[in-house]
């Protein structure tokens, strides 16, 4: 592996505020991603999703995006044509969102939706596309793929819906997956299943994964590296297995304030936000 898949240097994203100025959502984020699993964690509003969206150029037009470098596999995302971007989005980078209820088309059968995704990026007829869809549903371990193929999204459970989303994203054989809170809308047991599935597929296909989540322990279990974000900046990046020995006060605070099954505590420690965390980092 010579060159990383994704290189982000000094990414800044601003949104216009109601008072006429700009709110800084991302303030100088740098990270690189090879064919590995990178987790991005932080509270809501920390800029983790915006970072993922910026990489796919999916931010609203009003947003101001600046970066020294924002490159996906040699393509400069900042200056690429809309045509090139269309090839990247869905084609080479797949995006899995939080709630399958909102990201699937409610009036199309699941088979038709996956086939459509397949045909958008592969050459082939309707019949071939449906066969590919069936094969993809098998890959995401749906037990009765033929039945699901003809079902509508409201007829399947949340976990099944998320599997369908993953199948759709795998259709064009992407190099990278961005999973933005892929399991937050699901039960704990289904959560683990879906993440194991993503993990297996990413490893088997040698893809890069960017897993965006607010759940630190979950991310630590499934990723190789974890970047912890606060107020638009990366506080620290560390190997996932070292997360429990994290040194940054913010990471420690996030880990401490969760209730644990293994120990009883009368009160949960509350995160004390240090104003120093807001200062620009070198």
């Amino acid at each position: 592996m010579t060159q990383p898949l994704v290189e982000i240097q000094n990414l800044r994203v601003e949104f216009p505020s109601s008072s006429g100025g700009y709110n800084q959502a991302v303030r100088g984020v740098s990270m690189s991603l090879g064919r590995e699993k990178l987790g991005i964690v932080g509270e809501s509003g920390s800029g983790k999703s915006v970072t993922g969206r910026a990489l796919m150029r999916l931010l609203p037009e009003a947003a101001r995006v600046k970066a020294d470098k924002l490159v996906f596999d040699g393509v400069n995302v900042l200056s690429a044509s809309e045509r090139t971007m269309r090839g990247l989005r869905g084609g080479r980078i797949g995006l899995i969102l939080q709630d399958p209820k909102y990201s699937l088309n409610p009036v199309m059968t699941i088979g038709a939706q996956i086939a459509e995704a397949w045909r958008a990026h592969n050459k082939g007829g309707k019949k071939e596309a449906l066969e590919a869809a069936l094969n993809l549903l098998e890959q995401v371990r749906i037990r009765d793929p033929r039945r699901v193929l003809d079902s509508y999204p409201h007829e399947v459970s949340g976990g099944m819906g998320q599997r369908v989303m993953i199948a759709m994203m795998l259709a064009p054989n992407p190099d990278m997956l961005i999973a933005d809170e892929p399991t937050s809308a699901l039960d704990a047991s289904v959560q683990a299943e879906i993440l194991r599935l993503i993990d297996d597929l990413v490893s088997a296909r040698g893809m890069g994964l960017m897993l965006i989540s607010h759940d630190l322990p979950l991310v630590a279990r499934f990723c190789d590296r974890v970047a912890v974000m606060y107020a638009g900046q990366v506080m620290e990046t560390l190997p996932a297995q070292d997360l429990h020995h994290a040194e940054h006060a913010y990471t420690r605070g996030l880990l401490d304030c969760m209730p644990h099954l293994s120990e009883k505590r009368a009160r949960l420690p509350v995160l004390n936000r240090d104003p120093k965390w807001l200062e620009p980092r070198s």
Binding site: E43, S44, S157, G158, D187, A188, S189, V190, Q191, A192, H214, D215, L216, P217, L218, A220, R221, L243, H244, G253, L254, C257, M258, P259, H260, L261, S262, E263, K264, R265, A266, R267, L268, P269, V270, L271
Partner: protein, 248 residues
């Protein structure tokens, strides 16, 4: 022996031809916090909504504070039993100020001194005074959940029903809300039922819990048994193992 506050006996719920809750029985003592855990579709929220009077198609016995509940409840019931929902974005009226939201239960139940009660309610949930004349969209998720808790408590209830009150919040905010709930429960001697899929959250707040699967209670155990992993039913053991696994 303390007095029983909430009692369910052979509770059954049907939605059309679907039998979603099967013979659920449990009782909660006054001042106790009781947890209901299970996966989605296990019927835990439905049980809670039956007690709150939000689901009508049930049969069996439900008692609150010694009084048997019918399908129609009186006004006093709706003062005594209050509920906090999962999504603070969905449960507050978007076009009413916090002041209006908090004064409504007072007006409905004819409770005097709205002014002092609202100020005190905001203080109790640690919201700034300035929040009073804001709209819900001007507050953060954690602040909104505090408003929902303040609204539930303002009419001085004795029973608080909590349906996944922290699952839409960040872990840092979850800690603050859980601490707040623990304090309020102690200060006001509230009887609580907490529905959650997160065992650690239930263990933190509740002394006893029931595990539900497929509309049935499969096991009732104490917090100590939960922490020690002394569960007898396979489903409870699975949930505990999973929870430990995710804690890392």
């Amino acid at each position: 022996m303390t007095q029983t506050m909430i009692e369910a006996g052979k509770l059954n719920v049907h939605f059309g031809s679907n039998h979603v809750v099967h013979d659920v029985s449990f009782s909660v003592a006054a001042g106790e916090a009781f947890g209901l855990v299970g996966e989605s579709g296990s019927g835990k929220s439905t049980v809670l909504r039956c007690i709150a009077g939000l689901v009508d198609s049930w049969d069996g016995v439900l008692r609150v504070d010694g009084k048997q509940l019918g399908h129609r409840r009186d006004k006093e019931f709706f003062r005594q039993v209050q509920m906090v929902f999962q999504d603070p974005y969905g449960s507050l009226h978007p076009r009413q100020t916090i002041d209006r939201i908090l004064s409504e239960p007072l007006a409905v139940h004819g409770i005097p001194d709205a002014e002092t009660r609202i100020t005190r309610a905001l203080e109790e949930v640690a919201l700034p005074r300035t929040a009073r004349f804001r709209y819900p969209h001007q507050l953060s998720g954690g602040q909104r959940q505090r408003v929902a808790i303040a609204r539930a408590l303002i009419a001085n209830p004795s029973v608080l029903l909590l349906d996944e009150p922290t699952s839409a919040l960040d872990v840092s905010v979850q800690a603050e809300v859980l601490n707040l709930l623990a304090d309020l429960r102690q200060a006001r001697q509230l009887t609580c039922i907490l529905v959650s899929h997160n065992l650690a959250v239930v263990g933190h707040l509740c002394g006893r819990l029931a595990v539900m699967q497929g509309g049935r209670i499969v096991e009732i155990l104490s917090e100590a048994q939960l922490r020690a992993g002394q569960a007898t039913h396979a489903h409870t053991q699975d949930l505990i193992a999973l929870s430990h696994e995710l804690e890392g």
